[in-house]
Amino acid sequence: MNKSIETMWKQGFISEGELVVPKVNDLYNRKSQNLVDKLQHMFAVNIKAIVIGALLLLVVMSLIGAPWLGIYICVLLAPLVLMARKELDKSYNLSKGQSSLEYLESFNAWLQDSITRYAIYYKFFYPLFYVGMVSQGLASDAGTRVMARLLKAYPTDYVFLDIPGYVWGLITVLLLVVIKYSAALYRLDLNMIYGRQFKKLEELIKDMRALKSE
C-alpha cells in the first residue's frame, strides 16, 4: 500500500459537494429500521392489538355463555394497556444527542426497566388468567358433568363445591407451577424474539465501556 489511510480518506472526499445525497421525500411514511423506532412501533401496535383482542374475546366469551370470563380477562389486560402506554411515552423521551455510550446506556436502562415492569405484571397475569380459565371450566356445564363422572369413577370423602379433592390438588399444583415460572416464561418468550438484539446491545455497551476505561 502506497498511501496512508488519512491520504486515501482526504483524496476520496476532495469535493464533498459531489457526494450523492439520498432523497428524503415522504420521510415519515418510509419504513424505519431503527430499533428504538421499531420497538416504539411494536409497542403502539401491541396496545391496539390488546384492546381489540380483549374486546373480541369479550364478544366471543359472551356468545359461548361465558361473559364473566370475558370481562375478567378484559380487567386483567387493562393494566397491561396502561403500562404499555406509559412505557411508550417514556421511550419517546430518549435523546439521541448524548454521547454514544450515554445514549446506549440510557436506551438499555429504559429497555431493562420496561422488561422488569412487564415481568412483574406477567407474574400476576399468568396465575390470574389460569385461575379464571379453571374457574370458568369448572363452573361450566361440561365441567360439572366431568366432575360428576370423576366422582362416580373415583369416589372420595374429600369433596368441596362438588369437586373432588384430588382435582383441587392438581389445580393447586398447576397454579404453583404457573406462579413459579410465570416471570421466567415471559423472559423466555422475550429472549426468543429479541435475544439477538439484546445480546448485540450488551456487546456494544461492553465495548464502549472498555474504551472508556482504556
Binding site: 500500500m1 498511501k3 489511510i5 488519512e6 486515501m8 480518506w9 483524496q11 476520496g12 472526499f13 464533498e16 459531489e18 457526494l19 450523492v20 445525497v21 439520498p22 432523497k23 428524503v24 420521510l27 415519515y28 418510509r30 419504513k31 424505519s32 429500521q33 431503527n34 430499533l35 428504538v36 423506532d37 421499531k38 435523546s95 439521541k96 444527542g97 448524548q98 454521547s99 454514544s100 455510550l101 450515554e102 445514549y103 446506549l104 436506551f107 439477538r196 438484539q197 445480546k199 448485540k200 446491545l201 456487546e203 456494544l204 465495548d207 464502549m208 474504551l211 472508556k212 476505561s213 482504556e214
Partner: protein
C-alpha cells in the same frame, strides 16, 4: 420533514451523515434507509440540542447513535456480532464514491467492530481526541491507543486485499 429545516440544518452536513451511514451499511437500500433515519432523528431531537455545543458535533452524535442502535434483523443464517468480520459472501454492493481508494478503505473499515468504525471515522474527519471522546462517551486517554491499533488493522487488511488482487492479476 420540514423543508426549511432540512435545507438549512441538515443538508449542509449531509456529507457527515453519508460518510457515517456508508460505514454501517452494505446495500444502497440500507444506506438510503439509514440516511433517512438519521435525518428524521435529527429533526425529532433538535429541541434537545444544547446551543453551547457545535451543531456538527450534534449531527455526528445522532448519526452514530442511529447507526449503532440499528440492530435490524439480518438474513437467516448470518450471525454477526460486534467484533465479527463480515463473511465473504456479504459483499458491498454500495459503490457510492468514484475513488477506488475510498471504496477499498470503506471495505476495510466495515471489517472493524462497530465502535472502532465510529472512532476511525471521527479520526479521519480530523476530530480531536477530546471531541472523539465526547461524541463516543469514552476516555480521551484511550482514544489515541485505540486509533493506533485500528490503523494497524486497517493497513494490514488493505495490504492483504492488495496482495490478493496482485496475485489475481
Amino acid at each position: 420533514m420540514g423543508s426549511d429545516f432540512y435545507q438549512q440544518s441538515i443538508l449542509p452536513y449531509a456529507g457527515i451523515i453519508i460518510k457515517i451511514c456508508r460505514a454501517y451499511t452494505h446495500s444502497q437500500e440500507d444506506f438510503d434507509d439509514y440516511y433517512q433515519e438519521v435525518c428524521l432523528q435529527i429533526l425529532r431531537s433538535k429541541d434537545s440540542f444544547n446551543a453551547g455545543s457545535q451543531w456538527s458535533t450534534w449531527v455526528y452524535k445522532v448519526a452514530l447513535n442511529v447507526c449503532l442502535t440499528n440492530l435490524k434483523q439480518r438474513k437467516q443464517g448470518e450471525k454477526h456480532f460486534v467484533s465479527d468480520a463480515l463473511p465473504d459472501e456479504v459483499q458491498d454492493d454500495l459503490k457510492a464514491f468514484n475513488s477506488d481508494d475510498i471504496n477499498v478503505l470503506y471495505n476495510a473499515i466495515k471489517h472493524l467492530s462497530e465502535i472502532d468504525r465510529a472512532v476511525i471515522l471521527l479520526y479521519l474527519e480530523e476530530k480531536s481526541y477530546s471531541e472523539i471522546a465526547e461524541i463516543i462517551g469514552a476516555n480521551t486517554n484511550g482514544i489515541g491507543v485505540r486509533i493506533t491499533r485500528i490503523k494497524e488493522r486497517l493497513n494490514k487488511f488493505i495490504n492483504a486485499q492488495e496482495g490478493t488482487h496482485e496475485q489475481i492479476n
